[in-house]
Amino acid sequence: MADTTPLLEVRNLTVEFRTEHGIARAVDNISFDVGFGEALGVVGESGCGKSVTALAILGLIPSPPGRIAAGSIKLNGRELVGLPESKLRKIRGSEISMIFQEPMTALNPVFTVGNQMSDVLRRHKGLSRKQAREDAAELLRLVGIPDPKQRLREYPHELSGGMRQRVMIAMAVSCSPKLLIADEPTTALDVTTQAQVLEEINLLREKLGTAVLFITHDLGVIAELCDRAIVMYCGMIVEEAPIEPLYDRPRHPYTEGLLASIPRIRDRKLKRLPTIAGMVPDLLQLPDGCRFADRCEKATGRCQLEIPTLEGARKRKVACFHPVNG
């Protein structure tokens, strides 16, 4: 395969938050790529920095207290870090768009669905009010919402959770973005609705050729939807691999632990990652060495002192001194 430039190129990204007790590094020196039309999964326990990574890509880290302390984010070769707000605004919702976890609160309760959708269309595509409404109706039909004309006139609270999330998805793809970030889009939905929404995202990806950065707790979803995945732990990437090898022969003890504690991967009821003994270290009191060392059976003296770097072949990387399944 020819070595083309990827759609999204994240290099050495570091995001810090100033808190009362010191600086918390929520994302620490991470690098990864997303190719055109590719679906990349991001897994990890709660608080490991998944959402912060997503917000950093859109330039939406709340500041103060947060900031991108270092690193580069390139979309199609164009640097996004340090780009002025006005330029970033043109990218948000048109070239990169994002679906959020909470469909109940992510839409504005006091405006109709149509109003919010045509707002985006008019801003990024310069459509007329009427044209925007027609396009919005078309988009709703595309994501499988019956009677779209009527839905446009309704307020978010009149829709079910699944419907709202579909509206979010329709809004997100309305300007044909090159990259769609989905931050746990199904966590708040019930099992059947989850499946339908995932199906919808998958169909759209095939139809529109949009690349997807899919953030989730649910390993089963990743297996179904993604080509490749990265595993995050405590602000760092500990493993990166295509889906099949990741599941068959995980190399990082953390990934192995995650997989081992799932009885059946395809059991979609799993909403939270299964627990591994021990605690995630506090972002303010990080150990000197590997952050997983305290919970790892294989840890040695070296693990306590030195941070392993992410190494390996181009598509199969692990950050561990004692990788398993080697």
Binding site: L60, R89, M98, F100, L107, F111, V120
Partner: protein
């Protein structure tokens, strides 16, 4: 239709409140209030004269009957005659309420409007020096007593020790120029006194709204900051803003104008009320309390209807 049914329901629901307010006020102001018997009698009155006066004033009737009479006055909106001037209470009110409205409206409106604008500005620059400046100013404004502001503004704007631009006191309004002449200083006082409180309140409301998920969504879809503030955030903050504005109306009209009108010698309803307090003019006090209570119930009702207008989630059930 739905609105009408709701309004009627609210009005009926307001009856206990109305009864409570009038009962407590009646008990304190009339029953335990000043006894006017001897003021109206000559020297060395006979027992018959005393009894006659007490009968005229209604003092000899049982408590509940007198309270019932008061309720009847409220229902018929007929409050009899002033004790001190003998003028019909309704006529006095008809003359003075418009003056008070003309006096407080500009300051009330501007105080809230400027408050919202400052709050939006502060929220927009949240955490930066502009925010700190505005909020620091608010605390200073909140710390200065109304009476000090009144006196200071009178010195600054209306005396020979200051700019000497406006009349010191009074209300001789017959056209727009004279209106502006007399209304300016009270308006400035009103704005100054309410601005600190308003700005702080509105900023807290707006900042809280700024942290909601839907604002993050709007930003993730490229909404520019100005539009974010006036469309996405302001409309969502309308419920607390309306609540504050509506509920300050009855209080502002009576309490606020009482001090300002008394000080500037403006013959509005506040001044009349103050005079009634000092002379114990019960018919006027009874009318003011009764009307304020009614105003409160109407405000409660109007506020709920306005909620419905700004927030589709509110139902009038």
């Amino acid at each position: 239709m739905e609105v009408l049914r709701f309004a009627i329901k609210k009005l009926i629901g307001g009856i206990p409140l109305l009864l409570g307010v009038t009962f407590i006020s009646f008990l304190l102001m009339v029953y335990y209030g000043p006894d006017k018997t001897y003021e109206l009698l000559g020297k060395n009155p006979t027992t018959e004269q005393i009894a006659e006066i007490r009968h005229e004033l209604g003092y000899d009737k049982p408590f509940l009957v007198r309270y019932g009479d008061y309720l009847k006055e409220i229902v018929t909106l007929d409050f009899g005659y002033s004790d001190s001037t003998g003028e019909r209470v309704n006529r006095i009110l008809k003359r003075t309420i418009p003056i008070s409205m003309a006096m407080v409206t500009p300051g009330f409106v501007l105080g809230n409007l400027i408050g919202v604008i400052l709050a939006l500005t502060a929220a927009h620059f949240r955490g930066r020096w502009m925010d700190k400046l505005i909020m620091g100013g608010s605390v200073v404004g909140m710390s200065i007593s109304l009476l000090i502001v009144v006196i200071a503004f009178q010195i600054i704007f209306s005396s020979s020790y200051g700019l000497d631009l406006f009349p010191v006191r009074g209300w001789e309004v017959y056209n727009v120029t004279s209106y502006i002449q007399y209304v300016t200083v009270p308006t400035l006082v009103f704005i100054f006194v309410s601005l600190g409180y308003n700005t702080r309140f509105y900023r807290a409301v707006i900042v809280e709204e700024m942290e909601r998920d839907h604002v993050r969504t709007a930003r993730a879809f490229g909404t520019p900051p100005a539009k974010l503030l006036y469309k996405n955030i302001l409309k969502n903050s309308m419920i607390p803003i309306i609540t504050r504005i509506m509920f300050s109306i009855p209080l502002v009209i009576i309490s606020g104008s009482l001090v300002i009108e008394t000080y500037f010698g403006i013959p509005g309803v506040g001044k009349v009320t103050y005079d009634a307090i000092t002379t114990g003019d019960q018919p006027i006090l009874k009318a003011v309390v009764g009307l304020t209570a009614i105003l409160f119930v109407l405000t409660l009702m109007a506020t709920d209807i306005m909620y419905k207008m700004v927030d589709p989630r509110v139902s009038l059930k």
